[in-house]
Symmetry: D2
Subunit: 328 residues, 4 copies
């Protein structure tokens, strides 16, 4: 297996999906050992660092990549398997950015909520991050994930790395974790995918808009499936299938994920649309991902144990899982 | 403990929250052994029964109750503990009702989706219900829940039993299961709560609008807490706290549940609003309940294992759990 | 013509659509000379009166009525013609109610916007009301309208007089003005309609949630059309047809009004759904009504001059206009 | 005055806002005499032309431009005055594109609505376009407008010419007509604005997604104001001020336009936010623009006759109106 290691310098960060020259050309099957800077570009380091003073909002969600995958053409399916996510620092940060987040609203006449920054210390041995507040200190389990995994968008567009959509991007779902295979439809020659925005943990919905944001050491395997591009990003775990929809209002994000799962159930089991709709109604899990970004993201997820065995996308997930053994 | 048993005859069903004379007056601490008819009032029995032909849409979601709880006054908190839910029939039904459900839309120019009815056979020994379709037959785990648990609404209103709102009602969340304590704010003298709409199982979101709908034998314990009415329904399990918000669009349902949880975390741990918002951001689970009813319902849920021990609402849940022992 | 005059005393106000015994039984064709109290029940009188101190939120939008219309049955169409609206006081009030209004949001963590009350003095001779602020004083044209015109809802429900829906209610549209005929589907025996919430003027959207709210002298003629109940309230002026939809999110309110107009164009001209959709696309006016109430309201409106002559609902509007002559 | 004439050939069309090299560099004060192709790139010519067969969805809304305005820097305000819009053909087209339009919905399980194409013949002498259907033929007044007027977006993004947002773009409002001055904030050096998507007429909301789409001869004057960039596009007519907001759900589009107007009223008259909110509540007109595009667009509009005289943006509109005399 080819192995590519890449730790971008700040001038090498990408800030968009699309519109950026590739940092590397890789062959399908390549292992990537990457480093990603945190969503704040490392500028929030102390509880006294206030977003309005230290953040540059044109430099958030720095991306590592994009990677040009040889042979990838529009209509193909990129399979990105997350082998490992390891915090690259011993601390992480979260904050309230004025008028950003689910429990504030920019189109009102309110003053912004107060800015406050939280620094989480990591205890690697215990596998925890520490939430500290005036009233309460809590050690929370470390559960690393990637906020952004995306390819270049279709239709000549270039989108900010803050955006989730059909091309993946800033989906901010805790389901994007070690062991996940993410299937994304390819829109442009080479796919041009990038990753970033590591979270040491995040709740579903990412209420205040920023998770436990930290630099991350990322190990991926990237594969290519000719054809078969799904309309919306699909995730496969050992024990679940999931589809991510992104839109506003939130019901349309979730509906997109549902329609995506109806299609997937049709592919896997030959169910017609109404029978898939019925089955979904009785078995779907529906965890939210983010309700703070430019599009909201919601998942439709099904436990594999409820379904007959199947080899989604030609058994790609099992294949990647077996390749991953020994890489960490 | 007082024990009240009630199996309503069809003329005794209630069809609304509020606006109905109580079927019983009960004292706090009473055990209720109830029977609830299915959401279709038992009219869908065969796969050839089509909703447009056999359903009477003015007679759906029949309620058992309402119960007048002695001493309950506006501003009090009703605690309804679900001791047991046992399917009362060996089959259940689901269907597609024209222009009802998440993946259709009434304000379009489309013809309705085709009507189709599914009958699920129950295997009590195996604890499963059988999904049958042309392409696939699956035995799915029985996971009984109640679609509707509600009190009379505030502001002199009377709402259909299809509606979820601050008063509970048709929330359609799989979290309303045996072992759950549901806390509802009391709006009128006596609270006037009722239950119905049993589901043998349901996915999150209830996509097509109807779960595995079946008659249910329901055992509850009802308690009263003076004062402390939460703004939105709260659920407590042995291992979770949850708040249910109901509104449109879906983001507002979820935001309501989030603001409700910020309040609850404040009560439990003295967290100020911003610290609670931050903690929520990193620990919340956000499963959808329904995206098909007149209001959509969404939950904010936290695992107790992540939080310090606390005795919500004076330890009512533990108290009710201990009372429940021996009742089933 | 029968003429009924009614100036309710405070204990005679209705606070809901449905659930209230009729104040009068009237025959179709009756002229009603009514007085309506303002939305605040007259409690806001000075700029120093703050809503949180003087308002009783269980006593807002007092209704005059309801009126039982003899012969009205479910499926019939009530035609309410507004002959005249004359301010019953020389002043009116508007205010910011905490977390009510379009540019604030209850499901956030913000403190409420400041409360402020504006009193508008009426100049009857000039036909103006005076907006007074620190920076600017303006005389605005008097343009009286009724915020609420509604019948009892279907499905056994009782709704607050703050609610707009298929039954009309608190639609808060400036199009409900002298010269308007409002067509409402009848849901219960006698229709049980009421009116209230007079505005001396209001912008489209009613941003802050309260218009120039004032007591009103109201002259109506009420007629009954057997059958023909429209799905959503219809308005007819000498020069326009309009349909009012009410829902959340706002696009669904507007879509309902559009689907309603597609139906109306079909009735008037025999257009099929696609041709009506196309015509609407090129000729519709789409003014918002309210974006602050429990449901938002939006209109689809067409200028009659763009369409061939037609006699909607059997020419009822012309008939009522001719009856109205001499009544004012 | 500099005069630039430009009739792009098909290979010169721009398909995005941003990401395209300028077709011309112009000085502020330049008169542009442009030709714009219709939204379908001229591919729909007969009622038998079906979108799914003849349209290339990667080639819709062709733009004429972009124009690099010398001296324009981020934070400046571009003033684009529409001197004249004259249909460049004697016919125009409209159609139903599968799952596009307000009364259909892509995230459902419905089959698409039928495709149907309407061709409108222009009668220049009468100033009308002819709607033809099986049931009805109508001559509708010609009211030319531009669907898209936009600058390059901020944040390194490149957006499809189907998108409306803070940078203007595909707002699809009938208010973009001869006599209008459109103020847009500049995001990138040179502003890079383009225009296209001429409509011979359009209703508010653009229900089916396509107006009376036709090629257009366009005369503009372009001016530059240093600084003063508005957050959202502003329009000025001789008799109105308007702000256009674009977002989903629709309430957020309208709220953005409201907050934009609160800001404008503050600039013009020194009103504080609450007084501006109050005044807006009583005087705003709120016509919808589009409820079909990737973002919906809504306007807040005020009649100048209701307000004291003022010289918005330094009296730019009057200045441009006087320059326009003699140009048509």
């Amino acid at each position: 297996m080819d192995v590519v290691e890449f730790r971008p310098t700040p001038d090498q960060y990408a800030w968009t999906f699309g519109g950026v020259a590739p940092s590397h050309r890789i062959r399908p099957g390549t292992v990537l050992k990457l480093w990603t800077e945190d969503a704040f570009s490392g500028r929030l380091q102390r509880t006294t660092d206030m977003p309005s003073q230290v953040l540059d909002m044109t430099q958030v969600n720095p991306q590592t990549g994009p990677f040009f995958v040889e042979g990838a053409e529009p209509g193909d399916t990129l399979a990105i398997h997350i082998v490992d996510l390891t915090p690259a620092r011993d601390w992480a940060a979260s904050t309230t950015i004025p008028f950003f987040g689910a429990l504030t609203h920019p189109s009102t006449l309110h003053e912004p909520l107060p800015e406050r920054t939280w620094i989480y210390q990591l205890d690697r041995a215990a596998g925890t991050v520490r939430f500290e507040s005036a009233a309460l200190t809590l050690d929370l389990p470390l559960e690393p994930m990637l906020g952004t995994v995306g390819v270049a968008p279709p239709g000549r567009e270039v989108r900010s790395s803050l955006v989730p959509d059909t091309f993946g991007g800033n989906m901010d779902t805790p389901e994007m974790k070690p062991g996940t295979t993410c299937y994304l439809g390819v829109n442009v020659e080479g796919a041009l995918f990038s990753v970033g925005d590591g979270h040491y943990r995040q709740g579903e919905g990412e209420s205040c808009g920023t998770a436990v944001e930290g630099a991350m050491d990322v190990t991926l395997i990237v594969e290519l499936i000719k054809g078969g591009a799904p309309a919306w990003p699909r995730l496969e775990h050992d024990d679940h299938y999931a589809v991510v929809g992104s839109a506003r209002p939130l019901e349309d994000a979730w509906r997109a994920s549902q329609v995506g799962m109806v299609a997937w159930l049709g592919e896997l089991y030959g169910l017609d649309r109404l029978d898939a709709y019925q089955l979904l109604t009785q078995v779907a899990l529906s965890p939210l991902a983010n309700v703070c970004d430019t599009n909201y993201s919601a998942l439709t997820k099904i436990e594999k144990r409820l379904l007959p065995d199947a080899a989604a996308h030609g058994g790609m997930h099992s294949h990647l899982r077996s390749l991953a053994i020994g890489l960490t």
